[in-house]
């Protein structure tokens, strides 16, 4: 399968990304010419120490952040220099994000959280017209991630694993092409983390979802098709492995 993927153009590629932040008076470089590509249907993990810039790389790829130098291409088209509205659209339609701290909105119920990307995508009128389909879709996805019994709960009433599965459901409802996961198991115990990984792998396998996952855990990273090691803002080596 990986062979076929490599034949085609990569779905997303970050090329020679440099990014630095200002910390007080000092400019702190985080990424120094890092690059990463992912093909359609590929599960890539990025591993590195804290502060190695792996999260920043993910943010740049997901258009949450802009690179100082370097380009991000989606399906061969440069996307990092698009205007704000187009970037918002891409974030909404092409990317799905999962975070270490789940980042569900505390005021909304799980179902509303899951529907949020579609609420953002559609105007009030459109959303109202499609409310039944949207709701059905959200319920179906929640069922897929095993949360159909928690639909009307607030995030504060859910466990960490449930919240992360909710966050995955939210990331999937917009039918994204690429799932960007930032330490999805970082805040969970091994068993729950394993469950999350199984879910991600299943999604990758069944729906051909492209996943780029950032982690500092070797064991977690090893479950991806391919692992990229990031050190001090540069890609060190690419580890090939069999799909788990």
């Amino acid at each position: 399968m990986t062979e076929i993927c490599k034949m085609t153009r990569p779905l997303i590629s970050a090329e020679a990304i440099s990014r630095s932040y200002l910390k007080g008076q000092h400019k702190v470089p985080v990424l120094r010419g890092a690059g990463l590509t992912a093909h359609r249907g590929e599960f890539v993990s990025v591993i590195g120490q804290s502060g190695s810039g792996k999260s920043t790389l993910l943010h740049v790829m997901g258009l949450l952040d802009s690179p100082d130098i370097g380009e991000v291409h989606l399906d061969g088209q440069r996307i990092d220099n698009l205007n704000a509205a187009a970037r918002d659209q891409l974030r909404n339609r092409v990317f799905g994000f999962i975070f270490q701290f789940y980042h569900l909105m505390p005021e909304l119920s799980l179902l509303e959280n899951v529907m949020a990307p579609l609420m953002i995508r559609h105007s009030i009128l459109d959303f109202w017209r499609k409310r039944k389909e949207t709701r059905a879709a959200a319920l179906e996805i929640l069922d897929q991630v095993g949360l159909s019994h928690r639909v009307h709960h607030r995030p504060s009433e859910l466990s960490g694993g449930e919240m992360q599965r909710g966050a995955i459901a939210r990331a999937l409802i917009g039918k994204p092409e690429i799932l960007l996961a930032d330490e999805p198991t970082g805040n969970l115990d091994a068993e729950t983390g394993h469950g999350i990984m199984e879910l991600l792998k299943r999604l990758n396998r069944e729906q051909q979802l492209t996943i780029v996952m950032v982690t500092h855990d070797e064991a977690i990273a090893a479950q991806a098709h391919r692992t990229v090691r990031l050190e001090e803002g540069r890609i060190q080596k690419v580890l090939q492995q069999e799909a788990a």
Binding site: L104, M119, R121, H122, I124
Partner: protein, 560 residues
């Protein structure tokens, strides 16, 4: 969609936002209450001013007035008849009224404005009847303590009521009695020489109006000439009058002669004395004062002059140069328009008598024409037409508003300043919203990051907080409008409670002559206050909303 949802959710779950709502609500309610009460007072005041003045007043420039009142009215009718509902002529001149206070026996003189009117004509241009004491019941604490003396259907006139006539008769009786007592010393020069110094030494005038003395004196006079005087003198034993009597046998002798003289001079017992030709309605404020009743603790109105009393009016004649003229007038009634400016300044008098006393009757001269219009909105057209009818400089034509321009504009300025000050309250509430919103934005920083990662635009995030401000403004304003209107509606009940609570009258009806606090709710005022408050809430949320919109998603996500 998410904007609306989140905005409503924030509204429901952020209790700190309740502080914003309350501050907007209080500001709006205060403005509505104060505006309504101010508008109530000023409407009431305008009504009173207006009612007393009629719509348009044409005034002669000279004190001698305009000749031929009937022709004047015809001219006015010809010029602007289609607008005019009623018109009447009057003679207005400054003067003085002198009356005796029955309690102290001292004479008071007040400067007044004498209005010679035709009461029926005057009643057509303004509600004169409702001002007159005899047409209205006397109320105290909502209870009628004296019914109206005249039926409201009785036409206005200068006749005394039966109570007034009784009072007049008793006053005349009393005067006659005093004359009977005092004539001897006055007509007989020899005893009076000795009597007068005695009287002066005592330094006290006789108490003419002391009711008990009068009663005794009149009772005594019925019995017979000679012993009567002694009796009367004895009964009124406290007065200095009595003391010189026994000392001076001459006085007794003189007193013995009095009946004869009396019968010659004073026809009191043959022909009943009639009230003067000059009759007046006197402003209540001129002749009354308030005393606190020590028993009930209430303010009580004491009238110094009653219908049937005589007063002296002084004024000037219409001749050139003017001469002082004075005459007696009988008080027929007192009036209260509720405007102290009139009630303590104006004496309404029968026009014919005033014209006669001022030498204006030959040409039927009048000094002013009062006009009521069908529709006050026609005033400018009517004024323009009227101006054509008179020679330039002959008269001044003014609406009541122009005549009271200073007072009315003072009230307007007052209201405007108050509104500015009160709007500052809402502005303060606005700054409260700004501060609280900033806090909420900081608190929601991570949510903003999430929304952006999900593809929300900056303007969308901004819209959340702007509509949040709008929602707060709407909720706060509506609550404020409801609270304010309820307050206005129950203002008198609230005043009662406050009075009971503080132990003193918050709103003393005696000051304003209102039984209730007048209020007038102008719907446009309510709408503009509510919209203003909503506008301020939205304005105050712009800054926090901009901050929220400009948050960098990554930094917002990392925010702890």
């Amino acid at each position: 969609m998410y904007k609306l949802l989140l905005c409503l959710r924030y509204l429901r779950t952020r209790y700190i936002a309740l502080a914003c709502i309350v501050s907007v609500m209080l500001g709006v309610a205060t403005m509505i209450v104060v505006n309504s009460v101010m508008a109530g007072f000023s409407t009431e005041m305008r009504d009173r001013l207006h009612n007393f003045l009629a719509d348009i007043v044409i005034e002669a420039r000279s004190t001698s007035g305009l000749a031929k009142a009937d022709e004047l009215l015809e001219r006015v009718d010809e010029a602007a008849g289609q607008y005019i509902a009623a018109s009447t002529v009057s003679v207005e001149i400054p003067g003085m009224v002198t009356f005796t206070d029955p309690w102290t026996g001292e004479a008071y003189t007040s400067p007044v404005s004498l209005h010679g009117i035709d009461p029926r004509g005057k009643a057509e241009v303004g509600p004169l009847k409702s001002y007159l004491d005899s047409y209205n019941p006397v109320m105290e604490d909502g209870q009628i303590v004296r019914p109206a003396l005249r039926d409201s259907s009785e036409p206005l006139g200068w006749e005394l009521t039966s109570e007034g006539q009784q009072h007049f008769d008793s006053v005349q009786e009393q005067k006659a009695e005093q004359l009977r007592q005092w004539q001897p010393p006055l007509v007989e020069p020899v005893p009076s020489d000795s009597a007068t110094p005695d009287f002066d030494d005592s330094g006290q005038p006789p108490v003419f109006d002391s009711p008990s003395a009068v009663a005794d004196a009149s009772a005594g006079s019925d019995q017979g000439p000679e012993p009567t005087d002694a009796d009367a003198a004895n009964t009124v034993a406290d007065t200095p009058v009595v003391q010189f009597d026994p000392n001076n046998p001459n006085a007794g002798l003189g007193g013995g002669m009095s009946p004869d003289i009396l019968f010659e001079d004073n026809p009191a017992e043959d022909i009943k004395p009639q009230p003067n030709d000059a009759r007046i309605y006197i402003g209540e404020g001129l002749v009354s004062f308030f005393v606190k009743n020590p028993e009930t603790g209430r303010q009580q109105k004491i009238m110094m002059v009653q219908p049937g009393d005589d007063v002296i009016i002084s004024t000037i004649t219409a001749s050139t140069p003017p001469e002082v003229t004075k005459f007696h007038a009988t008080v027929v009634d007192s009036f209260r328009s509720g405007m102290s400016e009139y009630d303590s300044n104006v004496v309404l008098m029968n026009r014919e008598a005033l014209q006669k006393n001022r030498g204006m009757q030959l040409e039927n001269r009048v000094s002013a024409i009062q006009i009521r219009l069908h529709d006050y909105a026609d005033a400018p057209k009517a004024m323009a037409a009227l101006e054509q009818a008179f020679a330039p400089g002959e008269v001044t034509i003014r609406t009541w508003e122009e005549k009271q321009g200073l007072l009315l504009s003072a009230v307007e300025v007052e209201t405007a300043i108050l509104n500015v000050l009160l709007f500052l309250i809402i502005a303060v509430a606005g700054f409260g919203i700004l501060a609280i919103f900033y806090m909420i934005v900081v608190e929601k920083t991570r949510d903003i990051g999430i929304l952006k990662s999900l593809g929300a635009s900056s303007s969308g995030v901004m819209a959340i907080f702007l509509s949040y401000g709008l929602a707060l403004g709407i909720v706060g304003s509506s609550a404020g409008v409801i609270l304010g209107l309820l307050f206005v509606h129950y203002i008198n009940e609230i005043e009662d409670v406050l009075s009971w609570f503080t132990g003193r009258k918050v709103f003393d009806e005696k000051i304003y002559f209102f039984f209730e606090i007048p209020t007038y709710v102008n719907p446009w005022m309510v709408i503009s206050v509510a919209l203003g408050a909503i506008g301020i809430a939205v304005l105050a949320s712009i800054l926090p909303a901009r901050r929220a919109a400009s948050l960098h998603p990554v930094r917002a996500l990392r925010f702890e």
